[in-house]
């Protein structure tokens, strides 16, 4: 949604690092520490109202300085428009502010990104592994995780009781 991108650029200025539009998907790269404010603005500004978080995932680019990218897909039920937000973090400090306070949906999606890529979400109420078991070592969706690696440890049966 072009309007949303313009608004973001106007309100947040340099916090919007890049924007492009391929295949009709509006995409914006924003500063990591501003993500909560930006998502809140997208959700609450009248006329934009991106009230649904459709998807959240991490992508690993080992060759880049900022190795990980977290990709948000927001949707506005009222305007029937979508927008894609991205933030980038380094391998040494892969911390992104959590948006669980804005969308209830973010909880499990952020846990999945943490589980599979090792990106930590600051302020998340329950940042635990979700698809894999607690004792699992490593983060399998990282590009340097071998595809045929067998895990050494086995899950304990009652990780929920802890």
């Amino acid at each position: 949604m072009q309007e949303a991108v313009e608004t973001l650029k106007k309100v947040f200025g340099s916090a919007v690092r890049e924007s492009d539009s391929i295949h009709g998907n509006e995409s914006v790269v924003v500063q990591t520490d501003k993500i909560v404010e930006i998502v809140r603005a997208l959700r609450d500004t009248p006329g934009l109202e991106f009230n649904m978080m459709m998807d959240l995932c991490g992508v690993d680019y080992p060759d880049r300085n900022e190795r990980f990218e977290v990709v948000y897909h927001l949707y506005s039920l009222k305007n029937k428009k979508r927008i894609r937000l991205k933030v980038r973090v380094t391998e040494l400090d892969p911390v992104v502010p959590s948006i669980t306070s804005l969308y209830k949906a973010a909880n499990w999606f952020e846990r999945e990104a943490y589980d599979l890529l090792g990106i930590r979400f600051e302020g998340h109420p329950n940042l635990k592994r979700i698809l894999l078991y607690t004792e699992f070592e490593g983060h399998p969706l990282r590009k340097d995780y071998p595809i045929n690696k067998r895990p050494k440890t086995l899950p304990t049966p009652d990780s929920l009781m802890k």
Binding site: M54, D55, H73, A105, P140
Partner: protein
């Protein structure tokens, strides 16, 4: 205790009676239990039979779809998508191929688009029949299961005639579909629809005034409109909560805007609504199938693009160009240009999204599936709060959580 005694002051009513005050019991539901539909595990904290809290644990069916897809070519990923929502594999095939085609920027032939719509609507009916049928078995109504599974069997037979498999279909290809419709499709599907409609009306007849069914489903597992939106609900569960969002209407793909149909939705957001939204959707899908059978055009079913499609066998054996083209596609795969796409279709459970990052090679750099179940199952603990254990089963069945796409 006699009923009159309950009315006396000071005597606790049965609902307030607590067998062991202060003591809570923890009960494991699943992961291997016939009523848990797949391998889902929920830990319940109980006070008597009332659920105080619950923690779902997922991942029992995790099989690294996303990691596996990164080392497979674009075409090799298609069979993996069958296993996402295994109740309606054709819709996953369509959703994935559509995403890759958007990356290429290619438009598939008209007939292929009509066929894709047709198989989507057929599998939507199949999916809803499984969901409703098994949910009713959980509630103790076995007859309905047979009334719905018999017509589903006919539809599955047609799917078998279409692509040789009943569940692991792998029917679509990037750029079209793998084979044309079976010859007697129109008559077979019309017969199937007749049986389906009969089954649906029989089941509705059995349920609509059934006291037990109404007591078990009405006002059970209510989720408000605001919560449903915040949780990212899509599909029948969102529509049951009062939002008429359907990808096929909001962002029509293929020829959905040429069909005459309605988006059914309800207002309460309980188990009852979710079931009846599904009933109505099946009838709408049946309507759509009839229109598609009328409007479907003849023509090629694969795009004519040497970058994407395999040449016809006559050209492979008859000309050197055809042979080279076949060799290039088999050995080097198809290579979409660099870029990324988020493509979405309306699957049986809601919006099925594929986020694909392409680095210009023959393998996807990253595929992220947005399974509709994942968002819906998150709200499960909230729906359970304050209900009985038996209600947990009734609620779960109505959500139609499919572990295959939940865990990927």
């Amino acid at each position: 205790m006699y009923i009159e005694e309950w009315e006396k002051p000071g005597v606790p009513k049965p609902n307030d009676a607590k067998p062991f005050p202060g003591e809570h019991m923890y009960v494991n539901m699943g992961p291997s239990h016939p009523a848990m539909h797949g391998t889902l595990r929920v830990l319940l904290k109980l006070d008597g039979e009332t659920i105080l809290e619950s923690v779902p644990e997922i991942g029992y069916l995790h099989r690294c779809f996303e990691k596996e897809a990164e080392v497979k070519t674009y075409t090799q990923v298609i069979p993996y998508t069958d296993r996402l929502n295994y109740l309606s594999p054709l819709m996953n095939n369509v959703g994935y191929c559509m995403a890759v085609e958007k990356l290429f920027g290619c438009e598939i032939p008209e007939r292929a688009q009509w066929i894709r719509m047709l198989v989507c609507e057929v599998s939507r009916i199949c999916d809803h029949m499984v969901c409703i049928g098994t949910n009713l078995v959980d509630l103790g109504a076995l007859t309905n299961f047979w009334y719905l599974f018999n017509p589903r069997e006919l539809l599955t037979n047609w799917i078998e005639a279409l692509c040789g498999a009943r569940l692991t279909t792998t029917y679509t290809r990037v750029g079209g579909v793998s084979r044309d419709l079976p010859q007697n499709t129109e008559s077979v599907l019309k017969e199937c629809l007749k049986e389906s409609r009969k089954g649906i009306s029989d089941v509705i007849g059995l349920l609509k005034k059934n006291r037990i069914f109404l007591d078990r489903t009405q006002r059970v597992g209510v989720i408000s409109k605001e919560d449903a939106i915040s949780y990212g609900f899509t599909g029948p569960c969102l529509r049951a909560s009062g939002v008429d969002y359907d990808v096929r209407k909001a962002h029509p793909y293929y020829f959905y805007n040429q069909l005459d149909w309605d988006v059914p939705y309800s207002t309460v957001g309980d188990s009852y609504d979710r079931l009846f939204v599904r009933f109505e959707e099946m009838l709408q899908s049946a309507r759509m199938i009839e229109q598609i059978l009328e409007k479907i055009s003849s023509g090629p079913i694969m795009v004519d693009d040497p970058q994407i499609a395999m040449p016809p066998k006559s050209r492979v054996y008859g000309s050197i160009e055809g042979l080279i083209q076949q060799f290039k596609i088999v050995m080097h795969g198809i290579r979409p240009p660099k870029g990324e796409i988020y493509s979405y279709t309306e699957a049986a459970n809601g919006e099925l999204g594929f986020y694909i990052v392409s680095d210009g090679s023959d393998k996807p750099y990253r595929i992220k599936v947005r399974p509709p179940c994942f968002a819906i199952y998150q709200a499960f603990p909230e729906m359970l709060k304050g209900h009985m254990i038996a209600d947990a089963i009734a609620i779960l069945g109505g959500l139609n959580i499919v572990a295959g796409e939940l865990d990927r």
